[in-house]
């Protein structure tokens, strides 16, 4: 016959905390029945545990105060994240303009496009560019719509290919003008559009070293939505603060009209 396992102090605490399995619990109970001094101490521990639980219980019954409301905290986190990504976008463009620095990296959330290179990089660049020039009320373009021919020549000479200025009036957006901007992948052409409420869209275009022919992908940076694709070695990204459902057909129109020239 296997002798019973001796009762340990750990067993006594397990008994108090009600975590022993049934068999062990019975063995401890049998031991306590024949050892009144130990039983008295265990009973004292049990009373202590009950008193502690009773004293602490009302705290967990209090209504949760607003600053511990998880939904609020999650919302605050989301907002500060958006603000951070906007700030880092603007900071990156400033660094780029000031120092011509390569090899920097960017934090932010791309909803459907992986971050590293190719059209994902272009999507980021479009977002940064829009965060600077799309919000500049006075000098968002270097060449206005009236100087369209000059602008097209400038962009073509810097990015090394012919570009078209898509007509988006059917969607309610009028061409404002544009400029050449710097990206980590060289010069890019920026075209700006505005609707009658002053809401803006930007199209950024540049040659692609990879992802030379890529289907359109959606992405978002906080409130900023965009669509990015590449066709025959030229990448395009349309971005704006507008619902994706509204931007998608406009992106299709841009793609259609650019196809005619490249």
């Amino acid at each position: 016959m296997i002798p019973p396992r001796p009762i340990s102090e750990d067993d006594l605490h397990g008994f108090v905390d009600e975590v022993l399995d049934g068999a062990r619990r019975s063995e401890v109970q049998a031991y306590l029945d024949t050892h009144p001094e130990v039983a008295a101490q265990v009973a004292a521990f049990q009373r202590q545990r009950d008193a502690l639980r009773a004293a602490a219980a009302p705290i967990a019954d209090e209504p949760i105060p607003p600053h511990l409301n998880l939904r609020h905290l999650m919302d605050a986190r989301r907002r500060s994240g958006e603000w951070r990504s906007w700030r880092s976008m603007a900071a990156a463009v400033l660094l780029l303009v000031a120092g011509g620095i390569g090899g920097w990296s960017m934090r932010g959330q791309m909803s459907e496009v992986p971050e590293n290179n190719g059209i994902a990089a272009l999507a980021h660049e479009a977002a940064y560019t829009f965060s600077v020039f799309g919000t500049d009320r006075a000098h968002s373009v270097e060449f206005g719509a009236v100087d369209k021919a000059e602008l097209v020549n400038w962009i073509a000479s810097r990015i090394g290919r012919t570009v078209a200025v898509p007509d988006l009036t059917a969607a309610g957006y009028v061409f404002m003008g544009g400029r050449v901007v710097a990206t980590p992948h060289g010069p890019a052409g920026l075209l700006m559009y505005s609707n009658d409420q002053g809401q803006r869209l930007a199209v950024l275009m540049r040659p692609m070293a990879m992802d030379m022919n890529t289907r359109m992908a959606a992405h978002s940076f906080g409130d900023l939505q965009g669509f990015t694709w590449a066709s025959r070695g030229t990448g395009f990204s349309l971005v704006g603060v507008a619902p994706a459902e509204l931007l998608h057909p406009i992106a299709n129109a841009v793609r259609q009209q650019e196809k005619s020239v490249i």
Binding site: H13, L52, A55, I59, A60, I64, R71, L73, R77
Partner: protein, 174 residues
């Protein structure tokens, strides 16, 4: 994100209870819980997916609380024996409230490492193994601290129950 809310929200009352019984100051305790929730939200993707979110949250909270007590004592803002009684007097009847305040006041006199084990195990129903994870100590240490905490708390409550004239004049220094 919805999954995160579903897993975390039900644990918030227990986090508040642990924080308040461990540090005693209700305002500081809720601040610690807020810090815990903010960290949990920002590090949600870093947690072990197979791990227990309750254990993870208690680990974050406990570490914050220990740091808080260390800083507070350095600044002497938190006299051990004079914590605000109103913070814990929350029960329905006066007599209950007094008794509750007594036991929690006695718990407050336990050393931090004994108090944490006792509260996690006795009040929060954390298993011995999870308490070992939360406190980052071997399970044998959990058991020995639990034994010492219980024995010491019995003595402290006994001393409290004595008439004032019988109490030792000098407080034991821990």
């Amino acid at each position: 994100m919805a999954e995160m809310a579903e897993l975390i929200e039900p644990i918030i009352p227990a986090l508040r209870r642990y924080a308040r019984t461990f540090v005693r100051d209700a305002g500081a305790a809720d601040d610690l819980v807020q810090d815990t929730l903010e960290r949990a939200i920002s590090r949600w993707h870093q947690r072990r997916v197979d791990g227990n979110p309750r254990t993870w949250l208690f680990t974050i909270l406990h570490n914050l609380a220990v740091n808080h007590l260390r800083r507070a004592r350095r600044r002497q803002e938190l006299p051990l024996d004079d914590a605000n009684e109103s913070d814990i007097m929350v029960s329905s009847t006066q007599e209950d409230a007094l008794r509750h305040a007594d036991v929690l006041a006695a718990v407050a006199q336990l050393p931090d490492d004994q108090r944490s084990v006792l509260l996690l195990v006795s009040v929060e129903d954390v298993s011995y193994a999870d308490a070992a994870r939360i406190l980052d100590i071997p399970i044998g240490t959990v058991m020995s601290r639990l034994a010492r905490a219980r024995a010491r708390l019995l003595k402290l409550v006994e001393e409290q129950a004595k008439p004032v004239s019988d109490r030792p004049y000098l407080r034991r220094i821990q």
